[in-house]
Symmetry: C2
Subunit: 351 residues, 2 copies
């Protein structure tokens, strides 16, 4: 992966197809350095997803699709079946990078489905890239639509808590949860944001605080331990988070800590919203089917080079948790805002 620094900070594009390569912001370097990495083969994309160079369910989905485009471009296949074999190998490697966010599987399957309908080698190669680029465009469009749908739920002057990063850095641009906040502000409402740090990987401190500050949004940071206290003080009026997977029943899988923020919101009568495009919905699985990724102990025991826990201590580091529907006030999608009962209303929304 080649690295380069960009001075123009105006537009934070998390991932894009450029000069026959996939270029992404290296999110592991934020907030200290804004560095872009260039992936020229799909193994590099898979590695970037695993190491959280790119993260956030929608951004992972688009990145994986662009990874398939790299696989198609670089393939030495002479026939369509040979290309499909190469694509299938890439599909499997990309699919195995992370187990919880459903957008990854959705994106890969959508591109493969298109490729399978191609008639020629040439056609398949073109189709893979164009479908991935179409998803890239749709992501921004869906975020803007979610923003328009969700903005109405906020009041002028609201202080809004968000957990983890469901912002432009979790998507191609604009963001899901933070997209709604951006849209509410663009509609003239003065919102300010409280970001939780989001241990262990600190996406709230490193990414949400960074991108909101970058856009001139009023943002404060609190330790994850201070959520209950801030709510008890009446300092939080709304909560909005993203999602890695939403089930048809309204169960939401999202960054570890979301579940407890939802419980705290419920106790303090603070509305709790989830912003998720339909690509994040899983209409098949039941709660017990979803694998919750357990990540490396190194995320917990070290911050940078500083060891913050004794050697050899046992660590539990689940990356996600499940918030049940009864704790959720509404789920904001590009087609509208779902209210409980979610299963019934989701059917109606999809017609």
């Amino acid at each position: 992966m080649a690295k380069s620094k960009k001075k123009n900070l105006d537009l934070l594009l998390t991932v894009e197809w450029k000069d026959n390569a996939v270029v992404m912001i290296d999110q592991t370097k934020l907030p200290n350095k804004l560095v872009y990495v260039k992936c020229t083969d799909y193994h590099q994309v898979a590695d970037a997803i695993k190491k959280l160079v790119v993260r956030g369910a929608p951004a992972i989905g688009v990145s994986a699709a662009l990874g398939l485009a790299l696989a198609a471009q670089n393939s030495n296949a002479n026939t369509l079946p040979e290309l499909m074999t190469d694509l299938d190998t890439a599909f499997k490697e990309l699919r195995a990078t992370r187990p919880t966010a459903v957008n990854l599987f959705w994106a890969l399957e959508r591109v493969m489905g298109k490729a399978k309908r191609a008639k020629t080698l040439e056609d398949a190669k073109k189709t893979v890239l164009s479908e991935a680029q179409k998803m890239w465009e749709e992501d921004v469009k869906a975020n803007k639509e979610m923003g328009a749908n969700g903005a109405r739920l906020f009041r002028d002057g609201d202080v809004v808590l968000t957990h983890c990063n469901a912002g432009s850095l979790a998507t191609v641009a604009y963001g899901t949860a933070l997209g709604v906040i951006r849209a509410a502000r663009e509609s003239g409402k003065r919102l300010s944001v409280i970001a939780t740090e989001t241990r262990p990987v600190m996406q709230g401190a490193r990414l949400t605080a960074f991108e909101l500050q970058h856009d001139g949004v009023d943002v404060s940071l609190i330790p994850d331990t201070a959520v209950g206290h801030m709510m008890a003080r009446g300092a939080i009026k709304r909560v909005i988070v993203g999602a890695d997977r939403v089930l048809r029943t309204g169960h939401v899988f999202n960054k570890i800590g979301t579940y407890q923020v939802a419980i705290l919101a419920g106790r303090h009568k603070v509305p709790f919203y989830v912003a998720a495009p339909l690509s994040t919905f899983d209409f098949e699985s039941d709660p017990k089917d979803v694998v919750i990724e357990e990540r490396s102990v190194d995320e917990v025991v070290k911050v940078g080079k500083k060891r913050v826990a004794p050697k050899g201590v046992r660590i539990f580091n689940p990356a996600f948790d499940m918030t049940p529907p009864e704790l959720i006030t509404g789920i904001i999608t590009e087609r509208g805002v779902l209210k409980p009962p979610f299963e019934k209303n989701l059917k109606a929304l999809l017609g």
Copy 2:
């Protein structure tokens, strides 16, 4: 697996009077280095309290009392009134170090009360030291008594969650909450512990994991964001924490994050216990009277030398929060276990 590392570390004495000085473990260096610092005047003790070299309500109380003993020892006073003036100056400096934990005020006032009854300069100097040393001894005794009272509340095989560090490192030795866990284990019950990291200062990761591992107690560490998820999985059977101040109404002030752990325990029907010696009780104040210390932004934005938040972002860093009595199953003291209604039962306990 948590492994016992017993070398010359058998006895962790947090603070003691030794060779006319106050010697304490430098807790800012744990878990990487076990280093002791020697304070030869009370300013150094005050500084150690402010900088969290020594922390934990009971340890702060005893340290401040020993700080007064240093002030008495180092005083150039030629008359008893001159000594009392010097002691009063030291009293004020030590009292102003931290605003929330009540043991600090209790300890300083108790020593000053004794000094005021002295008849001679010589007598006053001796009294200050002997009273501080008496409190040092009483601290360990109270912890052992709390342990005996609290051990009965735990069952063989329990997995117990604790937040922050209410262990030997928060007291002279043995600990309050962790003292109860030690006593339960000594009584033959196999307990294992889950420690929360406790952002921002990481007392759970740095201190609780360290001291339990040191004593061969089975201990695991989780991010503060994983408490709700672990409870939803049924992985936690009891919670026990310490306290910085307990009001007569049963309101408990403790490390930031305690309140939300109590809410999560309530929702998952996990008993929530507080272990606090009577020196931690404040029979005068109402909840609104208690000052919650707001600490430096540096505790949040940096871990070691690593910056984890963008420059200039606004931070809220309250060090404590308040848990209301309705969330507390029992308060373990050296005289017995208080159950709700706390105000009534506290009167009965004190006779």
